[in-house]
Amino acid sequence: MATTEEIRADLAVIVNEVAGVAADDAQLDKSFVDDLNVDSLSMVEIIYAAEDKFGVSIPDEDSKNLRTVGDAVSYIEKALVSANA
């Protein structure tokens, strides 16, 4: 089972590739839009790259509530737990 930090680090790689954000900047308390300047189209790419990376499904109605990196990491953690349950 991946740790929170492992998920954050993997997500940070995706955010870096899609939006050019330095991987160290993508910390749990950071807002994608307000702190990391990720635009709405890039956010869509980040979500589907995360779905592929972690093997989880993040429907549009949930993804729009993922404001911070931490929101996304905990969503992915929960999705992985329920997938393995």
């Binding site: 899609v18 050019g20 954000v21 589907y48």
Partner: protein, 433 residues
Amino acid sequence: MSTRANTGPAGAQIVITGLGASTPLGGDLPSTWEGLRSGRSGISRIEQDWDDELSVHIAAQAKVDPASTMERSEARHLDRSSQFALVAATEAWADAGLAPERSDGTAGDDRIDPDRLLVSLASGIGGLQSLVGSWDVLQSKGQRRVSPFTIPMLMTNAPAANVGLRFGAKAGVHAPVSACASSSEAIAIALDQLRWGRADIAIVGGTEAVIHPLPIAAFAQMQALSRRNDEPERASRPWDQDRDGFVLGEGGACLILETLEHAQARGARIYGTLAGAGITADSHDLVQPDPSGAGQRKAMVKALADADLSAADIAHVNAHATSTPQGDATEAQSIAAVLGEGSSAVATGTKSMTGHLLGAAGALETIAALLALHERVVPPTINLERPDEGLTIDIAALATRDLPTGDLAALNNSFGFGGHNVAIVVTNAHRTG
């Protein structure tokens, strides 16, 4: 030589102050020009896993991958056509002595008023690789994996818009589409806009990035492409009796145009003048040029009149000369008819080296024509070993030709599917009074 070109209501003479290119000969303009001068071919075997399935295995591929010059996150949201446009525009902007960033951190130069900066930058086909790539994703993985950037990457105005965004151009961003005449038309449109006083400075040019199996297959089906697969460097041979079609190229080319007043006010280095342009349409056939060459001749005559020059003033012609059997012959007759028997002009076909950059060809060849005047040397038409019989224009076959001293003018021709004819006149002089 007269310098009373049409200056429009604003009375402005339009000068060229910056140049940039990324081409099959080099990742920047100095290396491209060195290649042109030395008669180097930019054409090679494609070497992709898909080319074996096609009848054509050669292309003029960019010497430097434009994506390799930018951040990965930036490159992934730009079609290759926009990448070339940004590389060429950035070089031209710097070459014009302009800063990349304003003091407030936004793009552009503090001395340039965004409301007076215009972009006119064309692509003939647009973001085809992004379009086809997203179609593949849709078919193999479904809608949820289709990039939300697909539309802003594939749209044909994206290169112009990306360049406008980079440099903060707010006087208008234009992306005229006229196939292989597109970037010459982009230059002509900017010339008029500047003459009309609608902007003081413009980034103009063209870009194309369609070395992909679909357009190669489609052009091959039109019998338009050379199949000299075993000798790529000899495949593009304008006016040679053994020519068998054009070679597809890719890249971008940009110029900075300014009113003379604006250029002088900031102490810019001036390469020469964009003296005139002429645009006509054949309205004869969708893809075949009018074999009489009437539209081609009229475009050149219009451009000369617009520049207030006579045929005798033309020292050099950078011909469209794509290396197709009929196209080269018709154009040679058109040039001969316009320039007349006493002309001392030296013509050349630089597509013999660069291949055909489609929507970027007009801008690249306008730059080549300008530099030929500036450096007083006409690049060779390589591979022109057995010229067509009956050619009455003087061509720099196989070797460079020197140009005389003094003020010189050159013509650049660009013709496109759809019957578009655009002629551009540049000079190495500018009125100082």
